[in-house]
């Protein structure tokens, strides 16, 4: 029991990718338990949004946990937390359909995220200088660059950026997400071509 406690404590420092790899290699569910435990809250909130019932949502979380425990070793998952909301959404919608319950228009709310290139470990900071970041920023679309500048350098909130630029709030979020992703891609390319 004591050794298991120490081991579980040590697993808390592991990255998602390492846990997925260890689980797929050994089938030892403690790795998956640690991994899933990190995102239980998010999974529960999404389930609750679809099912609108606490108990049913808890059951759905456990069903998803069991299902992933079974299927994960046969999959090639690159970024677990990006893949997870898609699975949760699909399971909730399947559940509602099987019960003949109304499927809300939330179906398209969780888009399949664009996978980021994993050239550099996601948990480590990129070894990039300020001038290189500024050069990469200069290559972005204007709307993306303006939003990123206001958000990162003026420390404005989404709402403030929206007020400052006149872009609707959803567009601001989109410019920031896509702009940041584009910027990372460019910086990763820079690292690999050095």
């Amino acid at each position: 029991m004591f050794i298991r406690g120490i081991r579980q404590q040590a697993l808390k420092d592991w990255t998602d990718e390492r846990l997925v790899e260890a689980f797929c290699e050994t089938g030892d569910e403690q790795y998956f338990t640690e991994l899933f435990g990190r995102y239980t809250m998010q999974v529960f909130l999404i389930c609750k949004q679809y099912l609108n019932d606490r108990e049913e949502s808890r059951e759905m979380v456990m069903r998803i946990f069991s299902k992933l425990l079974e299927i994960l070793p046969g999959l090639e998952i690159r970024i677990f937390r990006n893949w997870l909301p898609v699975v949760v959404q699909r399971e909730c919608l399947n559940h509602l359909r099987k019960q003949g319950r109304y499927v809300p228009l939330k179906e398209a709310q969780v888009p399949i995220p664009e996978e980021e290139p994993e050239i550099y470990p996601a948990t480590e900071e990129l070894p990039i200088g300020e001038s290189e970041i500024k050069a990469a920023l200069a290559q972005l679309d204007e709307a993306q660059r303006v939003c990123l500048n206001l958000f990162f350098f003026k420390k404005m909130s989404y709402r403030q950026v929206s007020g400052q630029t006149g872009f609707p709030l959803n567009e601001v979020k989109s410019y920031l997400q896509n702009g940041k992703r584009q910027l990372k891609k460019q910086l990763l390319n820079l690292i690999t071509t050095r």
């Binding site: 338990t33 529960f44 995220p113 997400q177 940041k180």
Partner: protein
């Protein structure tokens, strides 16, 4: 600048709740919004929370964490049970094998003793003693020899005891008493009589020592037995030297 490229950590429930209620300071709000740019899961969770804000989710999450820690699907449980059964069977097999080896080793000396022990007939010797003018035997001695020759060693022992109390210098009788005691299950007392016979009567030395070696073997004291057998194999009459060599080979 660093915030643009540094990895970000997923949101806690408190962060989601406070962000939704606009209760975060600027730094905390920036951390939340910066992470939301990277994490589809937290974005979906925040949207879900904002669609139906609920301040009392802590109990549900605590319950879920407990269930997840305990949850092992039936298939896994079954596999664990099978693994455990295999492990238990392996342990039992190892223990049984070890016990068999220990038992085999422990009974090895008994088996060697049984293979090499045979009691000499005493009747001929008694007749020879009469011919040689050895003093007339007491009734107790005759009775002891009768039982001894019949193979009833346990019945012979009390008569040998009674006779030897009155005739402690009859070492030949002592030798037979020792053999009877050895086969009757008292190797310790047998060793006393056999040692006395071997020390005091040179004619009995080889025979007494042979049975002494067997007595030590029966006591699971192979070291003493080997010493005696090595001596016999080098110095004894051919009959006992041959027996001693044969037993030594088996012991080695």
């Amino acid at each position: 600048m660093k915030e643009l490229t540094a990895p970000t950590v997923c949101l806690s429930l408190e962060e989601i709740q406070h962000y939704a209620k606009d209760r975060l300071d600027e730094a905390a709000r920036f951390r939340v919004e910066n992470h939301l740019l990277d994490c589809a899961l937290c974005r979906a969770a925040l949207d879900a929370y904002m669609a139906n804000p609920d301040e009392t989710l802590g109990a549900d999450l605590a319950l879920l964490q407990q269930q997840i820690q305990k949850a092992v699907p039936p298939k896994k449980k079954q596999m664990q049970k099978i693994k455990f059964n295999y492990a238990a069977a392996a342990v039992i097999l190892i223990i049984m094998t070890a016990a068999a080896v220990v038992y085999w080793q422990h009974t090895r000396y008994d088996r060697l003793y049984a293979a090499f022990f045979s009691a000499p007939k005493a009747g001929d010797v008694i007749a020879l003693r009469s011919e040689q003018g050895t003093p007339g035997a007491a009734p107790t001695f005759d009775q002891a020899i009768n039982y001894y020759d019949a193979g009833d060693f346990s019945a012979a022992i009390p008569y040998f005891d009674a006779y030897l109390k009155g005739h402690p210098d009859d070492f030949q009788a002592g030798l037979y008493a020792g053999i009877a005691l050895l086969n009757g299950g008292d190797p310790e007392k047998a060793i006393e009589w056999l040692t006395t016979a071997s020390i005091n009567d040179p004619k009995l030395f080889d025979e007494a020592n042979w049975y002494l070696a067997l007595a030590f073997l029966k006591q699971k004291n192979p070291a003493e037995a080997v010493k005696i057998l090595e001596n016999l194999s080098q110095r004894a009459e051919p009959v006992f030297a041959g027996k001693a060599k044969a037993l030594l080979e088996r012991l080695e």
